[in-house]
């Protein structure tokens, strides 16, 4: 069935179709519609879940962790300050190996206070052990909630997954979305079978106080699980594609890269605009959609380094290293493998529109760098007082 719905509504359908059993929630713009829709589903008896209207995001993530540890499939959603308020608890979920799915609707972190899209909320949580996938459209939002559980609950992974979706551009914008049939989702995603859970018939401790003799091994196990997800993610994607007919690729998606001189790497909704713009460059510029930021696709990036003469990297967040976090990690991945120019394109901070004009400029600068011209490594696009 096709419906014309917002990204938030699409995510709520995803949680419903995935049969999330416990949904703890706290409102924050632009996530609010997600939890409103889920509250409606539950209130109308369309979704068989326990809806918990909590008193803060910190309590949302606490209740979610506890419910998941007790054996329930959980879902929640947040944004920006709410994600920051959960920070402490995010670090608990991954090493406890709890396959929670939480959508983050990307919104700028204050100060300055704004409600529009920037990635500085989720990217600040890159070291928490959560897997992060960035979403391009409302269909992908729904599909990645369902795939999120498949990835998270895979016994090789057992890690929480955070689909990240551009605030307003997707959350409050309607698009046609194909809603899969419940029977099909049930076959693809069976009920949650925890490896272990807190059960009075089989008592165990979750969350021990742990001396240094053991913590290195815990960290290494979590790292191994993140690495294992690199194999699981494309497998789940293929399986999903064969049942539902939509294939988003693995950790990255390549668009028109064959025979290109350079590639531009984008994330989220900017990718859609870039799909149009690269056509103007008659095959010289390819597009790479960075889907997963965790696990970070280092192997795929090294492969790009061997095939193209320059990489342009779009960042919607700033690391105060001079450039953006994706730029820094792309360079780190290429270190020792390739010395092609990597050009950072900062744009869209605070939710400023990233137009075709800026993307055209990103392509041009990346091409000029490939041709040996001295191009600034970090470029602030459409920023007053900063020439590009």
């Amino acid at each position: 069935m096709k419906k014309v719905i917002t990204g938030d509504h699409s995510v709520a359908y995803g949680a419903k179709l995935a049969r999330a059993e416990v949904v703890a929630a706290y409102p924050i713009t632009p996530q609010t519609l997600i939890v409103e829709h889920i509250a409606e589903f539950v209130s109308d008896g369309e979704m068989d879940a326990k809806f918990m209207p909590m008193e803060s995001e910190h309590s949302v993530m606490s209740a979610t962790i506890a419910a998941q540890a007790a054996g329930a499939r959980t879902f929640t959603a947040t944004a920006s300050q709410g994600l920051a308020f959960m920070h402490e608890m995010l670090y608990v979920a991954a090493p406890l190996r709890l396959p929670i799915v939480m959508v983050n609707v990307n919104r700028t972190i204050a100060y300055p206070v704004g409600i529009w899209c920037e990635y500085n909320d989720s990217m600040a949580e890159r070291d928490s052990g959560w897997l992060q996938v960035y979403i391009e459209n409302n269909q992908e939002a729904l599909d990645m909630v369902i795939q999120g559980y498949m990835i998270a609950e895979d016994r090789r992974v057992l890690l929480p997954v955070m689909p990240c979706m551009d605030g307003f551009v997707l959350s409050h914008t309607v698009e046609p979305v194909e809603l899969p049939a419940q029977e099909d989702v049930d076959v693809f995603l069976p009920g949650y079978e925890p490896v272990y859970s807190l059960d009075p018939d089989n008592p165990a401790v979750a969350g021990s106080f742990m001396p240094p003799e053991y913590i290195m091994e815990m960290r290494r196990q979590t790292m191994d699980a993140v690495e294992a997800s690199k194999k699981v993610i494309p497998e789940v994607g293929k399986k999903f594609a064969s049942r539902f007919g939509r294939d988003y690729g693995g950790l990255v998606e390549e668009i028109g890269t064959e025979g290109a001189d350079v590639v531009l790497m984008t994330m989220g909704t900017v990718t859609s605009t870039a799909r149009e713009v690269i056509a103007e460059f008659r095959g010289r510029v390819g597009l790479v959609k960075l889907r997963f930021y965790r696990p970070f696709p280092s192997d795929e990036i090294r492969d790009l380094g061997s095939r193209f003469r320059a990489i342009g990297v779009f960042d919607r967040s700033l690391s105060y290293t001079g450039g953006g976090p994706v730029f820094e990690e792309v360079k780190a991945a290429l270190y020792g493998y390739s010395d092609i120019p990597v050009i950072n394109h900062l744009a869209g901070l605070g939710g400023r529109d990233v137009t075709a004009q800026e993307i055209r400029k990103m392509c041009e600068l990346t091409l000029r760098a490939a041709d040996g011209e001295r191009v600034s490594r970090v470029n602030w696009h459409a920023t007053r007082g900063v020439p590009v």
Binding site: M52, S56, S59, V60, A63, A66, G71, A72, V205
Partner: protein
């Protein structure tokens, strides 16, 4: 009602835990779990309770145990209960949180859980300071008490503020059941835990729990001091059911608060004037709890007119 001798011998909080001898928290947990039984799941926030019962790879509780952070006991027990409800399992979900984790950093979380009337038992183990981090003052620390952050110095001597009245705050949530307890009064203790176990909705059990190093007391005196807390009016045993207060034990004779204070190193520096102020505060509480004035030998005829929670510093700011 079960008598002490009829409680099951099997402890669910077992020997080998690493709490101090005489620890009020450990004695309270052990006895509460004997009454609650095996069909119980426990959440403990950051506290001595985690260290002495769940240091990897050991476990001192024979029931499922969860720990995640400090300020979230109300939220975690809510989440546990939600999952069991969804799975159709009837389980006692219990949080054992300290005073710091309840009065201060956890107040939002406990208030949220109480307001939603979550079907859980919240047990506040009140040792009147942040003991696990090394005895820092909390909202529960009594007036005059020495802690490492209310030192006995040249200008100030111990804590200058009075203890926050948390049970009143919790009672204002209009929860199904609230009780104050002490393991030194076992019959009352058993009756209240049993009662909490049979009621559904949010149940708040508040236990005074002496801390040997934090209160600077003899490890053999925990129970004696608890008894004295009740006899002086520093702790009152009562229960609330939907806002209705009922005192469950009344001491035969009101004793001077000085007798309680002088048994504990944390109070021994207190001046006569501070002890008098403390006695005035206790007498006011006694009046509130028992519905009549304390005994005339103990309580001054005229209580100081000022509000006792206002400190000297605040008085200076607001004029005489």
């Amino acid at each position: 009602m079960t008598a002490m001798r009829d409680l099951p011998d099997e402890n669910l909080f077992v020997m080998g835990h690493t709490a101090c001898p005489g620890c009020g928290v450990a004695i309270s947990i052990r006895n509460a779990l004997r009454i609650l039984g095996k069909n119980t799941v426990v959440y403990v926030p950051a506290s001595c309770g985690v260290v002495f019962s769940a240091t990897y790879p050991h476990a001192a509780m024979k029931v499922p145990f969860l720990h995640t952070a400090f300020e979230n006991t109300g939220a975690c027990i809510s989440g546990l209960k939600a999952a069991y409800e969804k799975k159709g399992k009837n389980v006692n979900v219990v949080g054992f949180a300290g005073d710091g984790g309840t009065y201060d950093i956890g107040l939002q979380s406990v208030s949220g859980a109480a307001e939603r009337n979550e079907d859980v038992i919240y047990i506040c183990l009140d040792n009147e300071a942040y003991m696990n981090t090394g005895i820092q003052r909390s909202g529960s620390t009594p007036f005059g008490a020495w802690t490492t952050t209310t030192p006995v110095g040249k200008l100030t001597r111990g804590k200058r503020e009075f203890k926050k009245d948390l049970p009143e705050i919790m009672a204002a949530h209009d929860i199904p059941y609230l009780a104050t307890l002490s393991v030194a009064h076992p019959a009352d203790f058993i009756r209240k835990v049993e009662k909490a176990k049979t009621i559904s909705g949010f149940r708040f059990l508040h236990m005074l729990t002496p801390c040997v190093p934090g209160w600077k007391i003899d490890q053999a005196k925990s129970i004696e001091i608890l008894k004295l807390a009740v006899d002086t009016g520093m702790w009152t045993l009562y229960e609330f059911e939907y806002g209705e207060r009922k005192v469950t034990y009344r001491p035969g004779k009101m004793r001077f608060v000085k007798d309680y204070l002088m048994m504990q190193g944390r109070f021994r520096h207190m001046s006569d004037e501070d002890i008098k102020r403390m006695q005035g505060w206790v007498c006011r509480k006694w009046g509130q709890h028992y519905g009549e004035k304390g005994s005339p030998e103990v309580c001054p005829v005229e209580l100081p007119a000022e509000h006792h929670a206002i400190t000297e510093d605040h008085r200076g700011m607001h004029g005489p």
